[in-house]
Symmetry: C2
Subunit: 201 residues, 2 copies
């Protein structure tokens, strides 16, 4: 999956560098010059791989976003409400843990959403769709707020540098338990492989 050709390696290193700098300075606060310097190449070399800055932003965000869609699709196919909730929550927590800073970036930086809205439509409905999976189609205000606090909190706290030292399994388990507790569900272990996309770990 990594290191096929030199170009692909540079491309993936470029995306990793961009993500790191986006997390530290925000999308707007990160220039192509900064990315190029950190990579040890020139701006023009960066432009060989991506035509525009927006293209970089999209490429940084796309994999996690598509995986999130896949996880929500999967959750919607579950027959019981309980299983739907566990799949949606488990999938979300999985993504937070595996992409860490990226997911936090979604909740925070306005720049990344703007860049993605142009390529993927309906991005702002992501949170709405996830919330619907967690608390049903017609939640009251208290339930809606609880779900929003939970989703934003999981993403931001999970991506925080304060917990960067925690291994994936530990972080995943704890975040999942917090989610279940906030949603009023009994404590339980998450199955590590909720389904799709475990191969990347």
């Amino acid at each position: 999956m990594s290191g096929d050709t030199v170009a692909e390696d540079t491309r993936s290193r470029l995306l990793a560098t961009a993500l790191k700098l986006f997390s530290e300075h925000g999308v707007g606060g990160t220039s192509l010059q900064m990315i190029a310097d950190e990579l040890g190449v020139t701006k023009a070399a960066v432009y060989y791989h991506f035509k525009t800055k927006d293209e970089i932003t999209e490429a940084v965000a796309a994999p996690a976003l598509q995986e999130l869609i896949a996880r929500m699709d999967e959750a919607e196919r579950q027959r019981t409400r309980g299983s739907q909730i566990d799949h949606a929550l488990g999938g979300f927590v999985d993504l937070i843990v595996r992409y860490r800073s990226l997911i936090a970036l979604f909740n925070s930086d306005p720049g990344i959403m703007r860049a993605i809205e142009r390529s993927l439509d309906g991005v702002e409905t992501f949170a709405a769709r996830m919330r619907k999976l967690l608390v049903g189609p017609d939640p009251d205000l208290a339930t809606t707020l609880t779900a929003n606090v939970l989703l934003a909190g999981l993403a931001l706290a999970g991506g925080s540098s304060e917990h960067a030292h925690l291994d994936d399994e530990t972080l995943r388990t704890h975040l999942f338990d917090i989610g279940r507790r906030m949603l009023g569900r009994p404590k339980r272990r998450p199955k590590t492989g909720t389904g799709v996309a475990e191969e990347g770990a």
Copy 2:
């Protein structure tokens, strides 16, 4: 409190405009030109009120930050743990509600923290101090994570445009209850005036 002189009015309108644009585009994504245009003045006029962009960023953030410190001081003076928690949580929720988008900005935009660190030291310990008030000095990992998810979630969800239509009292009550529930405390009404700084409402 507002509209003493023309200059002070312009100054406060400038800060309100800056906050609005910071929320929409991030600190790095907002230029002085944008602020000036939105205000209907020139860039040079903006520079009359503030020497640098960082100074604007600091001035936008300072009032909420100093109030947060005051609230935490007050909470620490409480004698019982329960009262400490209620004061800290209530004070935090009060600030979220009253400043809305600003507090969300702290949790997200890296630019605002960088600007403030230069003037106010120990900004990164704010979250740590608040967490200590909420869950004590030596929490286990699960408790630490719960507090971090709660603090980040309250701030981000409370500042979300999705809840902009909610009146202060409604939002405050619900966020406070969510906080108490996550901290494992029985449900209760927050006293609207937990102490200081109710006059601004």
